[in-house]
């Protein structure tokens, strides 16, 4: 049996290799010094959907809420073999909290047509705190599994997946249609690791028009969709001062001294 999936994909600030001066004195990030990337967990989520399609047939649709900044995650999704992509773009979304994003995602999913699987990565960056995926599932009224590490099997109207819990893993069966919120760190060699963009698709899809919807197009009123959270302040995490001490000598006595000092510390 074929399964249709909708995957929520996001573009996030790339917080690898940060330079000095990224955190301004008021605690906010100086985004002019940052680049962006495809949220790695969304890429894992996309791969999960594409593997379901490869094995069982069906379609994969990528959905993105918010304007593209540097990396167009929808185009990147096309290059990896999704069947269709949609973007919700609206000025309201520039300062939107997770509830607004989840509401927009819900309406967009309904507009596309309800899928068998709604899959999203467990994004914790940019103030999402991993809310949007679960919140969207809740608004769609879908049963959901959170922190999904892998999809074990799918069939007979249910998906069996393994989710990470504290100190181990839990296997859960969930009836379809369902929402899976994927939270897994992968090595490159892992069979769950995301595929890379395909050259042929890139050549074919680089200028394919991408359909965009505004908040109003989704039947929502931009005037009343306001945020439910108000950010009253941001504080940078204190940088930990690391004292280093050099112990001279390369003999066993020096080694013992180092071990002793580490124990005392």
């Amino acid at each position: 049996m074929a399964y249709n999936s909708i995957v929520l994909v996001r573009e996030i600030w790339d917080t690898r290799d940060l330079l000095d001066g990224v955190v301004r004195s008021d605690g906010q990030a100086d985004t002019s010094r940052l680049t962006t990337r495809f949220d790695p967990e969304d890429l894992n989520a996309l791969e999960m959907a594409l593997q379901v399609k490869d094995e069982h047939g069906g379609t994969v649709t990528a959905l993105s809420v918010g304007a593209s900044r540097e990396v167009d995650v929808l185009r990147e999704s096309l290059y990896r073999g999704v069947d269709a992509v949609y973007r919700v773009v609206d000025p309201v979304l520039d300062t939107a909290d997770t509830s607004v994003k989840a509401t927009a995602a819900t309406k967009a999913v309904e507009k596309i047509g309800r899928p068998d699987l709604f899959i999203a990565g467990l994004n914790v960056g940019e103030g999402e705190n991993s809310h949007v995926g679960v919140h969207t599932a809740q608004l769609l009224g879908l049963p959901r599994a959170h922190y999904v590490d892998r999809l074990q099997s799918i069939g007979d109207g249910a998906a069996t997946c393994i989710r990470a819990i504290e100190g181990g893993y839990e296997t859960v069966a969930i009836s379809l249609p369902a929402a899976l919120i994927v939270g897994v760190a992968l090595l490159k060699e892992d069979p769950r690791a995301p595929r890379s963009a395909k050259a042929r698709l890139k050549l074919q899809m680089k200028k394919t028009p991408i359909e965009q919807w505004s908040i109003a197009d989704l039947g929502l009123d931009p005037a009343t969709i306001g945020n439910v959270t108000i950010c009253v302040g941001v504080e940078p995490v204190e940088q930990r001062a690391i004292d280093s001490r050099r112990i001279e000598g390369s003999d066993e006595a020096a080694l013992k001294q180092m071990i002793q000092e580490l124990k005392e510390w």
Binding site: N4, T59, G113, A199, M205, K206
Partner: protein, 461 residues
């Protein structure tokens, strides 16, 4: 509308009809392997001539695999005349210095010109290649080329045998092959694809085997004001200092310091095999260099932002392979087009050769002939340009550097101690001080050897 209906109605139309394309095979006019200065220049020339071009880059983005350095922009200014407006250039080089280091002492010469502080800034800029190449790639894309980043070319695909053997496409890791009429190999210093293609197509290699230098760099950030004070620079000025001497004792190579906007690049390049002979690691040499009083004063208190290394083909003219085969041209570092004389120029040659390859491909396409003979104008263009003329002029450089190892340590330190001794303030008479200084300077080197070495070293200039 139902989900499935929606999908059925979703049509995917390529923006431009590709010359040959179905589910199984994609064929373009040209494929460029490597998104550095050579590859991007070739792509600009071909895309500008209306060709369908794909640039395959193994890094996550163009420039991701590269470091920082001096960029000479004469060719760039012809390819993209507006580059000064939008390219991420750190600082122009408005002052140059050459410094000789002894253990603690040093001497240097500096020169610069007001003219270098104005456009086009003597066509010399400090750039961070990760940023610059990415920008260059963006410009290339605007001209119509497609960037295929994060794609590793494993091999070329061939058709025919013997003299008619020709590459028809590329095999990409974990992906389908792509096909093209002509392929420009610009895979840089560590050019595994070019190397294999030279074997497959039976192209002749250079008279000498290629040898490599290892370049090691640190980027150290400094607040802008502090940097400008230390180097005595105005906001739109920069400097480049070359060093030879004691930290590089026994190595064939030297160090450099460049100023970025809010950072200093400190590094050195030396012939790879000389590390082994001297039983030192590049990291040890880097430490000794950066700890030298003449260098330390520039960077102290700064933060280490990046530590990187890169290979440089350094055998020059005599190691350049045959650069043309049926349906293929080799450009930039992959062809070993680096001038290792005192000018150490590479990116400019890369751009010139890439552009020449691209222009040649565009002409060949008009004639519908990409045979080895039809692509010969590429080599002729290079021979007529500064690229091959300079490389030919400096063809003895690698040999000279190998045969006068004293150049990089003994001689600089001798000149250094001559000056130090000459200007030592003491109770002795000046005549006595000078006599002793000159005696010390002349000791330890047979005169004839000294004269012979000076004669040889002229070839570096």
């Amino acid at each position: 509308m139902r989900f499935a209906d929606k999908l059925r109605n979703y049509s995917i139309a390529p923006a431009k009809p590709l010359s040959l394309m179905d589910e199984e095979q994609v064929k373009l006019d040209a494929l460029v392997i490597g998104g550095g200065p050579a590859g991007l220049s070739a792509a600009c020339a071909m895309a500008g001539a209306g060709m369908e071009v794909g640039v395959l880059e193994r890094g996550e983005f163009c420039g991701a695999k590269n470091v920082s350095g001096l960029l000479y922009t004469t060719v760039l200014s012809e390819i993209l005349p507006d580059y000064l407006e939008s390219a991420p250039l750190e600082r122009p080089v408005t002052r140059r210095s050459l410094a000789f280091l002894d253990r603690e002492a040093y001497w240097s010469v500096s020169f610069g010109s007001e003219a270098w502080c104005e456009k086009p800034y003597n066509h010399t800029h400090v750039v961070y290649r990760a940023q610059f190449d990415r920008w260059f790639a963006g410009q290339t894309e605007e001209l119509g080329a497609t960037l295929l980043e994060g794609m590793v070319v494993e091999n070329l695909l061939y058709e025919g045998e013997g003299a008619t053997k020709r590459p028809v496409g590329v095999q990409i890791r974990d992906d389908e092959p792509l096909y093209a009429d002509v392929i420009v190999l610009a895979d840089g210093a560590n050019c595994m694809v070019t190397d294999r293609a030279i074997n497959e197509l039976n192209l002749s290699r250079g008279a000498q085997e290629q040898t490599w230098a290892v370049g090691v760099k640190q980027i150290i950030s400094l607040p802008r004001e502090k940097l400008e004070d230390r180097f005595n620079l105005e906001p739109n000025e920069g400097c480049a200092i070359d060093y030879i001497g004691v930290p590089f004792e026994g190595l064939v190579g030297g160090g450099f310091v460049y100023t970025g906007r809010e950072s200093v690049v400190v590094g050195f390049a030396a012939k790879a095999e000389t590390f082994k002979h001297n039983r030192v690691s590049p990291a040890q040499v880097m430490d000794a260099f950066i700890q030298h009083p003449a260098v330390r004063r520039y960077v102290q208190g700064g933060n280490l932002e990046e530590y990187s290394a890169h290979m440089i083909p350094e055998s020059g003219y005599r190691a350049i392979p045959e650069m043309v085969g049926n349906h293929v041209m080799i450009a930039g570092d992959a062809a070993g087009l680096v001038n290792m004389s005192m000018y150490h120029e590479g990116s400019n040659h890369a751009m010139a050769s890439g552009r020449a390859a691209g222009e040649t491909a565009a002409v060949a396409r008009e004639a519908g002939d990409f045979s080895k003979e039809a692509l010969q104008p590429y080599v002729q263009k290079l021979r007529a340009s500064f690229v091959m003329r300079d490389l030919s002029k400096y063809k003895d450089v690698p040999e000279v550097m190998d045969s006068v190892p004293e150049l990089f340590s003994l001689y600089p330190s001798k000149v250094c101690s001559l000056l130090i001794d000459f200007f030592e303030v003491s109770l002795r008479s000046k005549a006595e001080v000078q006599k002793q200084a000159i005696q010390k300077f002349l000791s330890g080197v047979p005169k004839l050897k000294g004269i012979r070495d000076i004669w040889k070293v002229r070839k570096l200039i």
